[in-house]
């Protein structure tokens, strides 16, 4: 099998991985909260997309903005009502809180949606270019993932709310003194992270079967990607995701799929030792 095919598989997988990690990275970097809810947010986004498709036939691409908006509301509410109460407590406290909230959300989904894998069975076909075969749905997913990442990048760079998020990340007290409503900005940040997770769920519903079982898998991937790529910016998730996707793709072929995931974790451990801020992370956010 050609080098190009392995690389292409890795790049497409990598952008999907980036899409998983971006919201997680944002919350971790800005709020210093390890959001255990993240995997379940993605699964919830996937389910909402699936049900919208199954009952109304609307394409996941069109449902995506609605799902993203709903998840934003959910994320904003959770942060404003619960997590803000303990946001300045040590990281273990917020981790425990989000862990508890995750158990509630995860089990509610299992009870009401069941763990049965469901798939948006739209066949988009595949394209072949220079001997490389690529499924169209993954390419659409990749396009959406890149678009969302770019959008977040622009929002953080240019909008007032984006600059406020960055300001709060840099110095909470100083930002508050400048008139920024810190609690509101926290909630907006968490909302944006949930929005990105929901959008990722919509993208994934086209590519993978949706089941609550995947919640922990998504969370684990997000964690590894953030450590590899680094926190503090949108680029960290993108670089981390691509690195993990490409490494897993090559490792899967060269040393067998069974060991591919291990390689990702080994890379994570090595980076923690030699470059704790990640490949492109900003020093001080690790």
């Amino acid at each position: 099998m050609g080098f190009e095919q392995i690389l292409a598989n890795g790049i497409v997988l990598g952008t999907l991985y980036a899409c998983i990690a971006i919201g997680f990275s944002l919350v971790w970097g800005v709020l210093n909260v390890i959001n255990m809810l993240h995997g379940s947010f993605i699964v919830l986004g996937g389910y909402l997309t699936y049900f919208a498709w199954a009952y109304t036939g609307v394409s996941p691409v069109l449902v995506l903005p609605v799902v993203a908006a709903l998840l934003f509301g959910l994320g904003y509410g959770l942060q404003y009502l619960f997590i803000n109460k303990v946001v300045s407590a040590p990281v273990l406290t917020t981790l425990t809180l989000t862990f508890g909230l995750d158990m509630i959300l995860y089990n509610l989904m299992t009870v009401y949606f069941t763990a049965t894998p469901r798939r948006v069975s739209m066949e988009f076909g595949r394209v072949e270019f220079l001997g490389v075969v690529m499924p169209v749905d993954r390419l659409i997913g990749m396009g959406l993932a890149l678009a969302l990442t770019a959008l977040l990048f622009v929002v953080l760079r240019t909008s007032r709310i984006g600059r406020a998020i960055v300001a709060v990340r840099m110095d909470r007290e100083a930002a508050a003194l400048m008139g920024i409503k810190v609690n509101h900005i926290y909630a907006v940040t968490f909302g944006i992270a949930a929005l990105m997770a929901g959008a990722a769920g919509s993208v994934f519903a086209m590519v993978f079967p949706v089941t609550t079982n995947l919640s922990g898998v998504f969370l684990g991937k997000a964690f590894v990607i953030c450590v590899i790529g680094g926190l503090g910016g949108v680029s960290g998730a993108l670089v981390g995701g691509l690195a993990l996707g490409i490494i897993e793709s090559f490792a899967g072929v060269l040393i067998g799929p069974q060991n591919a995931i291990t390689i990702g974790f080994v890379l994570m451990l090595v980076l923690l030792i030699v470059r704790p801020q990640g490949l492109v992370g900003v020093k001080g956010y690790e």
Partner: protein, 400 residues
């Protein structure tokens, strides 16, 4: 009511309740069941729960089971172990020590059964497993463990022979299995059976639990152009695997997914893509047994009751095997004439029963022996039985 009167009334009520419990406890067979009612295996846990409720309702309505001249009702004491193996073991201990159950039923899957089996063996309480088929669970020398599924190896040898008969030019097979107790043992067994059956195994790899992408492995398989692709895993893995095969343009005359098509979720999740996929299963409701012992006198009687209980859903092998497992317990209790664990254990070991699910007779390691398990194929969205010949209802079709 004055406080004194209130206390007297309360005491009387409590005493009555205590007496009631004591009286009924003697006439009840208590069966303990740690079930995965939430978490990753929740679907499977609910299947077990459903058929056990059907079974107890039916048997209790008919007066219960005759144990040594006393008609006893059956009560299932269940706890949700949240798909956490360690918790399943803890709850098995609770069921034995606090609830004082007479018999335990194992949870779904070989991995969790293994954990509960170790607990049951320690306390010497009979354990009947209905969804565990890996020999590694039964070859630990446990005396109190019995399983209604048959060993994996019988399934794979029959499959190799059957496929070679249908496609004489069959020469190469790619095997891709999930690194988990049951899927791994099926992949290993198939690899061994394929080699001993004269096939060349061109790819033989496992993927880790939690894999969400198979493109690397499938791209390699594509370049090897095998005649037969054999993939094992749970439904979500297999749906993804089949879809990625299509996405990457992988074609083979035979694609087998174990146990994919045995579950309705697989065919529903894949739609037309499921067509032509073969599999093997321990039981299918199309395999009709009649005039049998147990709560249902025929497979059809069970099927009709099941349709009613499940609002028209079809049963799969989990439902069949687990309902029949309670027939085994009832039969053993009847023959033992007591609920004493050692006597129950001996009666279970001597089981030789024809049920709606098929024959059940335990071998030396506690596994159900001597069943010919059906090979199935998805044809036109439905499940057809290809083997064994006496219950087959279709000819195998090749994919290309």
């Amino acid at each position: 009511m004055t406080p004194t009167k209130r206390i007297t009334a309360l005491s009387a009520a409590l005493a009555a309740a205590a007496l009631g419990t004591a009286a009924s406890a003697e006439d009840v067979i208590k069966i303990g069941a740690p079930l995965a009612l939430t978490g990753g295996l929740a679907d499977e846990g609910h299947k077990q729960e459903l058929v056990w409720k059907m079974w107890t309702d039916k048997v209790n309505a008919a007066g219960g089971i005759d144990v040594g001249g006393t008609k006893m009702k059956v009560e299932i004491v269940e706890y949700d172990y949240q798909t956490d193996g360690k918790r399943a073991g803890q709850l098995a201990e609770k069921l034995i020590n606090d609830d004082e159950v007479d018999v335990l039923m194992a949870p779904f899957g070989s991995g969790h059964t293994k954990i509960v089996a170790a607990v049951a063996e320690r306390y010497q309480i009979p354990l009947v497993a209905c969804v565990s088929s890996s020999v590694s669970v039964y070859d630990q020398g446990f005396k109190y463990l019995f399983g209604t599924l048959a060993p994996n190896t019988g399934m794979t040898e029959a499959m190799v022979a059957e496929f070679k008969a249908k496609m004489p030019e069959l020469g190469t097979v790619a095997i891709y299995g999930r690194d988990d107790v049951f899927p791994k043992s099926m992949a290993t067994a198939t690899s061994d059976s394929a080699k001993s059956g004269g096939l060349e195994v061109v790819y033989d790899e496992l993927y880790p639990v939690g894999a969400i992408d198979h493109s690397a492995a499938l791209s390699t398989i594509k370049s090897l152009e095998p005649d037969w692709i054999y993939m094992t895993g749970y439904t979500q893995d297999l749906i993804l695997g089949r879809k990625q095969m299509q996405d990457l343009g992988i074609e083979a005359p035979i694609i087998t997914m174990v146990t994919g098509p045995a579950y309705k979720e697989f065919t529903e999740g894949l739609g037309e893509l499921a067509d032509g996929v073969t599999s093997s299963t321990w039981w299918h409701h199309a395999a009709g047994y009649t005039d049998v012992a147990g709560a249902w006198s025929s497979t059809d009687a069970f099927y009709q009751d099941f349709l009613e209980a499940s609002d028209g859903e079809d049963p799969d092998y989990v439902h069949g095997s687990c309902a029949a497992a309670l027939d085994v317990v009832a039969d053993a209790a009847g023959r033992a004439g007591t609920l004493e664990p050692a006597a129950m254990r001996d009666a279970l070991a001597a089981t030789d029963l024809e049920t709606f699910y098929g024959p059940i007779k335990f071998g030396g390691n506690g596994m159900n022996q001597g069943r010919e398990m059906p090979i199935i194929q998805v044809q036109g969205g439905g499940i057809k039985i290809l083997y064994p010949a006496n219950i087959a209802d279709a000819e195998m079709t090749l994919l290309d």
